[in-house]
Symmetry: C2
Subunit: 326 residues, 2 copies
C-alpha cells in the first residue's frame, strides 16, 4: 500500500465502513440470486472512490443527514451495473482478482442483475423527490451507455483521435464521477456556484481517474492490478498512451504497432517492446502530464474552500487518483 | 385482421400515429448506431398497446396536454429495452417476423442499447418532475428485471406452480401495463380512487395479456405470430397451459410430458400430441377461463366511468387483449 493510500484511508475509514454497510442494506433484492450475483462484484474490494466523493462533497456543503449513506449507494450501484455489463460485453475473465460474474452465473443472469442495479439506483434517486438530482442521475446513465457503445464501435480502429478518446472517457467514466460530486452538492442544497465548482472538481477527477486506469494497463503488473495487464490492447481498446505513441512513432514503428493492434495478439516480448516505445516517444509522459494538469485544476478548486478535514481529503483524493497502483 | 382489431384501430388511429411520431422524436441518441439498433425493434410493428393504454387512461382523467405523447414513449422504451435484453438472454432468433437485434449487431451492442433505452425512459420520467411518477417507473423497471431473473432461474423446472407463474408474469409483464394505466392517471392529477381504479384495470389487462401470449405459443401458427410457435417450451419456459396440463394429466402422459420438457427438443408430431393433451386435460380451456375472468373484471372497472369514446376503447382493448392472433 503506498503512502497516499494509507493516509487517505486513515482519513476516511469511518466513511468507508458506512458505505459498505449502506451497500449491503440497500441492495434489497426480491430474489436471493440477485444478491449473490450483484454482491460478488459489489463486495469484491472496490475502492469506493465514487460514493466517497459523493459523501465528501455533500459534507463540504454542510450536509449532515444520515440519508447520504443510502444516497451514495446510487453511485456505486450504477458503477457496478456498468461493470457487470461491460464484462459481458468485453467477455472479460477476471476483475479485481476474481473471476467475473458471467463466468459463474452466465451472461443472461449477469445482464439482468446489471439491469436490476440500474433500476435500483434510479429508484433510490427517486426517493429524494428532488427532480434535479433524478435528472442528473438519469443523464449520467444515458451517457455511460452511449460512451460504452462508442467505445465498442471504435474498437480496433487505429484512426481513433485524442478528441474522440476524451469524449468516450468523459461519457463512460467522467460523468459518473462528476455527478457523484455534483449530486452531493445538490443534496446539500448548495448554491449554484458551489455546485458548479464541485461538479468541475469531479470533472477533473473523472478524467484523471480514467487516464490513470489506462496508464496502469501498461505500467502495472497483473497481480497488483487485479486484472491482466495489456487487456485493453488485446480487446482492441485504444487508449491515450497508445494514441499518442501512434502519433509520435516513426513510420516503421507505426506499421509494427498497427500490426500488433489489429492482430490483437502479441508475445510478452512484443508487449515489452511496445511499452519501451511508449516511453521513447513520450507517450507515457504525455499522459501523465495531461493527468497532472487536471489534478492541479481539481486541487485549485478545493483550495478555494475554507480548509477542513474534508478539503484535506478531497485534495488527497486528487493526488491518489493519479498515483495509485490499482 | 380480426373484427376486434379492425374496430380498435379505427378508434385509435390518430393516437397510434402520435405514438409512432413521438417514439421517433424522443429516442434522441447521441450515436447513430443506437437509433439503428433500437429502431430495428421499436419500429418493427409493435402493437403499442402499452403507450396507448397510458394515453387513454390520462385522457379518461381529463388530461389534454400534448406532453402525454412524449410521456407515453417511456412505457414503450422500457418495454423495448426488456425485449432487447430478453432476446439476448433467451438467445432468440426472430421477433415480430424479423431477425432479432443481437443476430445483426451482436449481443454487446444490443445489451448496451437496451441500457440506453432504460436510461432514456427514466430520463423522460424525470422530466415530469413528479416524484410519484418517477418512483412508479423505477419500481416497474426493478420488478421487470427480477421477474426475468426468476423466470430464468426456474427455466425447465417442472415443479413450477401456478402461483409462481402468476408472480413471474405480474413482475415481467403485469407491472408495466398496470404502471402505464396508473401513471396516465397520476399525470392527469386524478384523485387517488380513480388512480387506483385505473391501476387495477391495468393489473387485469396485464395478466390477460401474458396468458393470451402464452396461449398463442400453443394455439397460433408461426407466420401469424411473427415468431416460432413452441418457442416457450423449447426454451424451457413453463407457462400456464403446460403447468395446468401437467397437473391434470395421468401418470403416463405426465412422464411423457416431462421427457419432452426437460429434453427441450420435440418433433412436430410430438408437439401436436402435446397440444391435443392440453385440450383433453382442459389446460387450454382453464387458461382462457382465468383470462376471461380478468377481462370481465377489467371491463367492470371501466363501466363505472361515464361512457365516452375513451371508455369504449378501453373496453375493446380488454376484449382484444385476449382475442388476438398475435
Amino acid at each position: 500500500m503506498n503512502d497516499l493510500k494509507q493516509k487517505l484511508i486513515s482519513l476516511v475509514e469511518n466513511d468507508l465502513q458506512d458505505i459498505e454497510a449502506a451497500l449491503d442494506q440497500n441492495l434489497n433484492p426480491h430474489v436471493e440470486m440477485v444478491r449473490e450475483t450483484a454482491g460478488h462484484l459489489i463486495f469484491s474490494g472496490g475502492k469506493r472512490i465514487r460514493p466517497l466523493l459523493n459523501m465528501l462533497c455533500a459534507r463540504l456543503c454542510g450536509y449532515t443527514d444520515e440519508f447520504i449513506k443510502k444516497f451514495s449507494t446510487i453511485i456505486e450501484f450504477l458503477h457496478t451495473a456498468t461493470l457487470l455489463h461491460d464484462d459481458v460485453v468485453d467477455d472479460a475473465a477476471i476483475r479485481r482478482g476474481k473471476p467475473v460474474a458471467h463466468t459463474i452465473w452466465g451472461a443472461p443472469v449477469t445482464v439482468l442483475v446489471g439491469d436490476f442495479l440500474l433500476a435500483r439506483a434510479l429508484h433510490i434517486a427517486a426517493e429524494t423527490e428532488n427532480p434535479k438530482i433524478i435528472k442528473v442521475i438519469a443523464e449520467i446513465t444515458e451517457s455511460m451507455c452511449q460512451g460504452e457503445i462508442i467505445q465498442l464501435i471504435k474498437k480496433g480502429d487505429i484512426r481513433l483521435t485524442e478528441a474522440e478518446y476524451m469524449d468516450v472517457i468523459q461519457r463512460k467514466t467522467g460523468f459518473l464521477i462528476q455527478g457523484a460530486c455534483q449530486t452531493g452538492a445538490i443534496l446539500a442544497g448548495a448554491p449554484i456556484d458551489i455546485e458548479k465548482k464541485l461538479s468541475e472538481y469531479g470533472y477533473h477527477i473523472g478524467i484523471v481517474f480514467q487516464i490513470a486506469d489506462d496508464l496502469l494497463d501498461y505500467t502495472s503488473d497483473t497481480k497488483e492490478l487485479g486484472k491482466t495487464i495489456g487487456t485493453d490492447l488485446k480487446e482492441g481498446k485504444l487508449t491515450l498512451p497508445i494514441i499518442h505513441t501512434l502519433e509520435k512513432a516513426d513510420a516503421k514503428d507505426r506499421v509494427w504497432m498497427e500490426k500488433i493492434i489489429t492482430g490483437k495478439n502479441f508475445t510478452d516480448n512484443e508487449f515489452k517492446k511496445l511499452i519501451q516505445l511508449m516511453h521513447d516517444t513520450g507517450g507515457i509522459r504525455y499522459c501523465r502530464k495531461i493527468a497532472e494538469n487536471h489534478v492541479r485544476d481539481a486541487k485549485k478548486i478545493i483550495a478555494s474552500f475554507p480548509q477542513s478535514k474534508t478539503t484535506e481529503t478531497l485534495l488527497l483524493i486528487a493526488d491518489y487518483t493519479l498515483n495509485r497502483n490499482a
